[in-house]
Structure formats: structure tokens, C-alpha cells
Symmetry: C2
Subunit: 301 residues, 2 copies
């Protein structure tokens, strides 16, 4: 089945001590859609200006990512993030953010999208995530991703959203911030009380944690000797996760969460090995299967 992905479609300019990578394809929906496209057809819902390069549209299309829901605003500027890495590549700071066309955007789903079974509300303002849920008629499984910014500036919208999704994905720092609980395991329990039946906490190189009615699942990350650029890794994780779930022919969606997280972790590992989507788009489905098998071996006891 197909996956509907809504989120940001952006241009990322990433400066490093060794040079600059201007106007890379970036944004939560771009990373998530490309990640999901390894497994399932994807319907992308986003907005760009007319400065958005045609080659990025071609890239989406070449991967079976449908663009009927990608709004193009004439004379508008695409959301642009400019960040810089320090010498050791561990610290990243934002130099500039131009919201552009995303600032006043409210998504309108193409008619056929309203019946989308698998929906990923990738990281974007909770108001926009609500607008998409409002238009859905019978989703099977809805995952929402978020970030600390929305906890700070749109907490009320976010809390309301938690009652409308099957699964919330957030990182450990955000889980602590949302619950005011320093212990990630007890934070999971508090987040369930806010609405979602399933909660996934991303811990970067330390893997991820799933909590649901069947208890916890501790997922490893794929161990990388070198991380080039982690931008988009979380989006790749959640995109790979839902793309994998949508591709399964039997069983309930939730029964595929564990292996979905493993597949998401593997797509995220490719994402980290290059700037933007450069390495991700070089990976093949066979490369993913190989790393999933490696993870199976290195987590066995």
C-alpha cells in the first residue's frame, strides 16, 4: 500500500570546515519520502517555491514519489535552512532559516489522497499536521514526528494532535521536555497518557525505543564508523519505518513496528554517511537487506 507523507520540502545549505554544500535537497518530508520509497509508493504533500530545482522533482519522480500533492507557489521562495558544522563534525548550528512559502501554507490534499491508509505527519508545525488529519477519511495507521521547536512554540496544538495519531515519534531530549521526566522509560508511560497508543523514542547512535500495549522494544542503531551528516536521519528513520509497514501484505500495522524500526534505522544509517540525501539515494533495496541482516546478527544473544 502507499504512504502519504506531509512535511517540509526544503533546500539545505550545509557549511563544513572542508567546504560548503549549498542548496541540497532537504526537509523532513523529502528525507522521509525518499526513505519510504525503498519499500512502498509514496504520495508527497508539501510546498515549494519556483526556485525549487527541477532535478529534485525528477529525483522524487524517479523513486515512485507522486507529486500531485506538492504545491508549487509562483514567485515564492522554498524553505531554506543554512547550517554549519564545527571542526569535529559533532556540533551543528543554524546560521539562517528562511521559511518562505511554508510560512502561510495550509495543505489541501488531492481528492484521492483522502483515503490514504498509511500517513506520516513528518516534522512540521502541528497546525499543518492537524490540517492533514482533518482531510483523512479512514487511515489505518498515522505516525506523527515532531521537534523541540513545536514543544516551545505550539505545545497546545501538539497536545491536541497526540489524541489523533496512532504513534508519536520524538527524540529522548524532546520526550524529557514534553513530560518533565528525566527517565526515558517512565517518560514513555506519561506520553501514552497524552494519547498515542504507540510511542517511539529516537536516541540517534543509541538506537530507539518503542512502547505499546505489548510492552517495550529496544532497537539497536546500525553502528557507523563514520558519520558525515546526520541531518535528516530521524526523518529517514520514520519514513523507512512507515514505508516498510505499508509494504507488508498481512498482519496488523502494529505487528510490523519492530521490523519497521530496524529498516528505518538502516535507512537512517545510509543518510548519515553523506550530506543531504547523497548517500541515501545511492543505496539499493539489497544494501538495506544486507544491513538488516547484519543488525540481526549483531543484536543476537
Amino acid at each position: 500500500m502507499s504512504v502519504l507523507v506531509v512535511g517540509t520540502t526544503a533546500l539545505d545549505s550545509i557549511s563544513t570546515p572542508k567546504g560548503s554544500n549549498p542548496r541540497l535537497l532537504g526537509g523532513s518530508a523529502s528525507h522521509a519520502a525518499v526513505a519510504a520509497s525503498f519499500f512502498s509508493p509514496v504520495h508527497l504533500v508539501g510546498v515549494v517555491g519556483d526556485d525549487f530545482p527541477t532535478r529534485y522533482l525528477d529525483l522524487f519522480s524517479s523513486r515512485g514519489i507522486h507529486l500531485a500533492g506538492l504545491e508549487r507557489v509562483k514567485g515564492g521562495q522554498t524553505f531554506h535552512w543554512h547550517g554549519e558544522y564545527e571542526v569535529n563534525m559533532n556540533n551543528r548550528r543554524t546560521l539562517n532559516t528562511v521559511l518562505g512559502v511554508i510560512e502561510h501554507w495550509s495543505p489541501k490534499l488531492p481528492g484521492a489522497y483522502e483515503t490514504a491508509p498509511y500517513v506520516l505527519l513528518a516534522n512540521i508545525a502541528p497546525g499543518i499536521q492537524h490540517a492533514v488529519v482533518d482531510q483523512l477519511t479512514r487511515p489505518k495507521f498515522v505516525i506523527a514526528d515532531t521537534m523541540d521547536l513545536w514543544l516551545n512554540v505550539a505545545l497546545k496544538d501538539l497536545l491536541r494532535l497526540l489524541k489523533r495519531v496512532d504513534c508519536l515519534v520524538l527524540n529522548d531530549g524532546e520526550a524529557r521536555q514534553l513530560t518533565q521526566d528525566d527517565n526515558v522509560v517512565s517518560a514513555l508511560h506519561r506520553i501514552h497518557r497524552l494519547g498515542p497508543k504507540y510511542v517511539i523514542i529516537k536516541k540517534g547512535e543509541h538506537g530507539s525505543l518503542l512502547s505499546g500495549p505489548d510492552g517495550l522494544f529496544v532497537a539497536p542503531a546500525y553502528p557507523l564508523k563514520k558519520v558525515v551528516d546526520p541531518t535528516g536521519a530521524g526523518d529517514s528513520f520514520v519514513g523507512g519505518l512507515l514505508g516498510y509497514m505499508a509494504a507488508q501484505k498481512s498482519g496488523s500495522p502494529a505487528s510490523h513496528l519492530r521490523r519497521g524500526m530496524i529498516h528505518g534505522a538502516v535507512v537512517a544509517s545510509f543518510c548519515c554517511e553523506g550530506f543531504g540525501l547523497k548517500r541515501t539515494i545511492q543505496a539499493t533495496r539489497a544494501d538495506i537487506t544486507r544491513r538488516v541482516r547484519e543488525l540481526e546478527k549483531l543484536a543476537r544473544f
Copy 2:
């Protein structure tokens, strides 16, 4: 088979916003020996003053921990650590350390101990760890634990020790410090070049990583909703690990490292649930098996 454990036997006084816990049984060898004693007979090598409470000696004995190698210095003062927790229980700081009898101690193994098959050099000055290795005649498997202090004040001794042990255990911060490499996975490879065939990196709540000739193993931690006092958790991990390995009747020692780490992680989880050894000594072998089974379930995919 039995396990020889050398390290500190200490008194820990731990202050918290809710009260104080004076003169608890602490030290790397105490935690490690108690952890190992769930699985195997233990021979403890350490030193205490005559202020060391008899009830702690009785506790060791009651758990099958042999004390022929525990030196008692007349008129001497036991190593004493005094630490304080902040309100959120996450930050701990040292208020005072009295080295006491440990300062000028050099261990002399009782004759029968020289043929010890499984040896744990728990966290203590590398010079003391060397003195023990000097007296061993045919160990099957030697694990050394360490801490950042020794990287700062005894690096040369530590580097020399790495060529004399089968396995080094250290935490992620120490691995980064030792190798000057921010990436834990590539740090593992650098540590192998320093000597040990097996390297284990402890990551606290994020589990642990093993690297050896057969590649990596990613071990989960047992997820705890509440951590009361993590003091000694790393020592419990490594004690449980080697105690478990020594209890296996067939196969090479290294073939039991993975499940050993899981058992060590479980003993460490009990350690974190109480001050000092209070919770650890309440746990039964059946409690450990139960948590190991839980870990098997929650790591399966």
C-alpha cells in the same frame, strides 16, 4: 569455575536531598564480587582497615565470596568515598575521598589464587592490576575495567596493561578520551590496536557494545523506570559478566561474552534500584533469569 576479583573495597557515603546513606558497602571489587557471586564462587582480593564493619565481611561470606585475599590493615582506614546527588538524582559530585589503606597497597595473592582461571581486574590503579597479573600462572580469561582517573594520572601503566588482558571494559566517554576519537565504533578499532582482543564499551542506560574477532555485538540495557543510585552499576555489569562466563561448563570463554553481557546488564539494573548494594543483595538468581528473559523478548525483531 571460580572468579578472582581484585579492586577497591570501600565505604561509600551518599548524600541525597532526602537524606544520607553513610558508610554503605561500596568499591569496585565489592560490587563486582557480589554480582559475580550470583553465578560462581568468588575469590576477593582487596584491602580494608579495621574500621571495615564485620557485617560486610559476613555479607561477602554468606554469598560464597572467599576472603583469604582480603587484607586487613591494623589501625588502617578503609578507602572512603563521600558523594552527593543533586535534586534530580542525575548529577553526582564527590565531596571527599579518603584513600586510606589503599594508597600504599600492593596485593599479594594467596598461593592457591595464582592459578585462578577467570580474573577480573576491577577498577583500581593500573599498577595494582599489573601486580595481580604478575602473580597469575595460567588464566583463561582476564578482563580489566578502568576509569577516566587512570587515563589522566596513570596512562602509561594502563597502556602497558592493555597488552596483558583479554578484554578491556570502559565507558563511552573513556573510550573517546583514550583514542581521541569521537566515534565510538571507530574508537573500538583503535583500542584493539592497543592490545585487547575484546573490547566492551559501557553506555549506561543505552546498553553496551562488544567488539571482537567476530565483529560487534550491541547489547541492550534493562530499561528501568526509576534509577535510585547508579553507583557501582558498571562494576556490577562486569562482575555479572565474568561470573556468568565462569559458570559455563562448555565452549570457549569468549563464546559466552554476549550472554554474559546480558546477565551483567541485568545485575547492573538491580544495582541501580537501590543505594549501594541494598537492592542487588535482595535479588535472587530467579529474579535475574526473569529479567534476562524479558530482555530477550524486548530485543527480539
